[in-house]
Amino acid sequence: MRKSVAVIGLVAAATAGLAAGCGSTGRGGAEAKAPNVGERSCGRVHPGVGAKPLAGARQGGVVALAKAGGKTIAYVADEDDGTIHTVDVATGNELGTTQLGGTPSQLVVAADGRVVVALRDKAAIEVLEPEADPAQPLASRCTVPTPVEPVALATTPDDGTLLVTSGWGAALTAYDVASMGRTYEVPLPREPRSLVVSDDGKKAFVAHVVGSRMSVVDLAAKRVRPVDVGGIEEGGFRRPRIGLFGGGEEIERRACQGFALAKSTDLSGRIFAPQVLVDPGRAEERSEGYGSGGMNPPEVAAVAVVDEDTEQPIGESVSVKPDVRQMVGVARPRAACLLPRAAAMDPGSRSLFVSCLGIDTVIEYDAAAADPQHAERRRFTVAAGPTGLAVDPEGRRLVVWSQFDRTLQIAPLGAKDVAAVDAPAIVRVGLSRKAQTAATADLELGRKLFHASGDTRISSDGRACASCHPDGRDDALTWATPEGPRQTPMLAGRLAKTAPYGWTGRGDSVEAHLSETFGRLGGAGLARREIDALIAFATALRPPQAEMRDGTNDVLVQRGKAIFHSTQAGCGTCHHEEGAWTDHTAHDVSSRADADVAATFDTPSLRFVGGTAPYFHDGRYATLRSLLVDSDGKMGHTKHLAKEDLDALEAYMRSL
């Protein structure tokens, strides 16, 4: 029993707080009520007792700091074990643990000291109350339902409202902090993650893993405005365009990996969004690997600086620039932060800290720079899987949680002016954990390999598996490949029973497809055990909320199911329910694009199809509805369907 809990926890963590996808669909938050959710009072039983939040700390994180008497304590959300660790930041001593009712993604300390935890796998937030002694476990007060997969939390400046973003549920939900009653919900585009609230409390800024966007939510009007955080590379060179006398070209880069956000009242009006700017290449051209190739790296690290008032990024911060160090012969490039996962500001030194998976590094940037990415102050290595960061401005400390190695690190921030500070002397604390098994050891290795960026065994340009498959899902991008355009498929929950793999179905096994992928990425390859571990991890990636369904539209779904399997529509002809929604066969559905070398494509599984736009091998359909309508006659028939029928069909497909 314990073994299975540990394995599930690890995989849930991998699909949760770690790596999700760059897309375009927007939909409201599907909600599922887990057992014991929403049945108890959420208020404090012992008001005034226990730890309180640090002054001004209102953004949730994997690590949240609080003051307990004279001590600064860190609450650490441990995704693998489903616990909160309470740690004395001054000594590094683990004071206690609190078992949660699910897998935590983020937590935040409310103004009255209650700890609110987003339970990613339970579609709920759990509210806990601290005891007088911080060593005692937090007392659970209630759980409150949320849209599917709550991933990030923040409270408004008046401490009256709790905001929750839900990843798969694609929504921002507001709760009254006192009662934890839901007050409103705003649908968001795909894969929202971290959020921060504007100084005046009127707007929430939400990062997105995919879609090259940030969302600005007007909290009064309940409206969403998109902010394009994609970038421009001037003077870039793609392989096909290099000529003897040819100049560079302007390359539009798409933003991905928007997991983290940070802001500071010290640099008022600036919101920092660590991300990656991607050049997937032109869909109408073939390439040698994934992306355009040539002199342009497919992915470059960036930190978008968004003006809180104009809701636009400062142009310099999303402008891709040459590496000036190489101009003076510094041949070895710095490992790029291609998997940023957490960010925190130190107002004292105007420093922005970003934790980077894959290279297991925390990078300190000058947050006052127009482009912080090119104003790096220092970097230091941390244990594997840094998913959480918090700054203790009073104690001048940085707290880093590395989930993969289950290690908490406490680093001195140094002088406020940062001058003459070398790599800090880091205190490393291995926190307690549940019993491990051989199975979890393999999954742990697989998880590290999946996120290994800058590893030449995986790719020659720094990309990791999680670069295109964040959280094991998809990046919503269509990449130029030697065979034509290829939209990234979701992995989590889609590998089992869906062979063959790859859009043309050439990979008989995951391993065979993996081998081809490594080849296209220019990776040297892994050892046998590592390949096994990576495959074990990839196939065990837990899909979003697989066990929970939205039961509010059952009638519509049932109607859609009938249409799906009807002879007239013909969807079920190829998408067999018993075959994981595929017939494992390639078909020509008149979808060959100019750059395609073949006209037939393997029937993709429809598992989780509702959250993986765009669609088709070349990403030609931006939404599920456009796929259903525009592919009529080429792949099933929908022309005869009324709007209500299409609604039903779409609802059914979203339930798969």
């Binding site: 003006d307 040459p322 720079a369 102050r377």
Partner: protein, 299 residues
């Protein structure tokens, strides 16, 4: 030195670089934009004011004119600046650093305006820019000084090894002055790359630019080794023990402004761009064609 030799050295240098971890960058006390003193830099002389000719034999300190360098094209004259000076002749095109370069060539014609700049660093943190405006006559290979201006500089950022980046304000522009001991590579605010080999690089940042403005530069400076050199497979590097190294440094200066900020936010930082296993000074000087570097004064 042969091309092959230089390439081999470059490869060896690249191979010898160690991982850059924890290289601190210094951003102590970056001033606010409004606190940076305004300085007056005179416009370059206007050609309409030029004398008809300058007799042979007139000279300006630190400027050498060689009319015989281009034997195949006698219509060109080479102008070189010595002692870390930078020179510009004629109008400076947009996008070209106003500080000029170590050398330039000019088509022989009428009398042209010439400017010589020199960064005079009395000690790290105390510096001024010496600007000499003159007339240049390529026909007689002569230069006549017209005016001399000294522009006080303020510290924008202090870096390791007593390296300092200076600047001054010129209207809405932040003029950035970056000292150079060797070649400096830079990416200017338009995203264009360039190099300079004279004693400093001066570039202006337009603080009114909507998207912000950023200058990045990198160059090597001579510094003492912090640790023993790593073992090298190259016999010649072992034969030249050195306790100094040419270590790459990166400078980043930017201005940007959000809607609520009352003035442009200035950021300036200087830090090592590689670790201590850079290129040893002795090894480098033995094998590479490059101007000798002048060590900066230490406090």
């Amino acid at each position: 030195m042969s091309r092959i030799g230089k390439s081999a050295w470059m490869a060896l240098a690249a191979a010898s670089l160690a991982v850059v971890v924890g290289a601190p960058v210094h951003a102590a006390g970056t001033p606010s934009f409004s606190s940076v003193p305004e300085a007056r830099v005179p416009e370059m002389l206007h050609p309409k004011d030029a004398p008809d000719t300058i007799p042979a034999g007139e000279r300006v300190e630190g400027v050498r004119v060689d009319g015989t360098m281009f034997k195949g094209a006698p219509t060109f004259t080479a102008v070189q600046a010595d002692g870390g000076r930078c020179v510009s002749v004629g109008a400076i095109p947009p996008g070209v650093p106003p500080s000029g370069s170590a050398a330039t060539s000019i088509r022989v014609g009428g009398v042209l305006p010439l400017r010589v700049e020199r960064l005079v660093e009395r000690k790290p943190g105390e510096a001024e820019l010496e600007i000499v405006d003159a007339w240049f006559d390529g026909r007689t290979s002569s230069v006549r000084q017209a005016t001399s201006t000294r522009v006080p500089l303020t510290v924008l950022a202090k870096g390791p090894a007593s390296y300092v980046v200076y600047g001054f304000r010129k209207g809405d522009e932040l003029q950035v002055v970056i000292p150079s001991q060797d070649r400096i590579g830079y990416v200017d605010p338009r995203g264009q790359i360039g190099f300079t080999q004279c004693g400093h690089l001066r570039i202006g940042l337009d603080t009114t630019a909507k998207n912000g403005a950023m200058l990045m530069a990198a160059g090597r400076i001579q510094t003492k080794r912090a640790q023993r050199p790593a073992p090298s497979f190259h016999p010649q590097s072992q034969a030249v023990p050195a306790d100094t190294t040419m270590r790459a440094l990166q400078v980043t200066v930017s201005t940007s402004r959000t809607k609520r900020e009352r003035e442009p936010l200035l950021s300036a930082s200087v830090g090592w761009a590689e670790d201590d296993e850079g290129v040893t000074a002795g090894f480098r000087n033995d094998f590479v064609d490059a101007p000798n570097v002048e060590p900066i004064e230490s406090e």
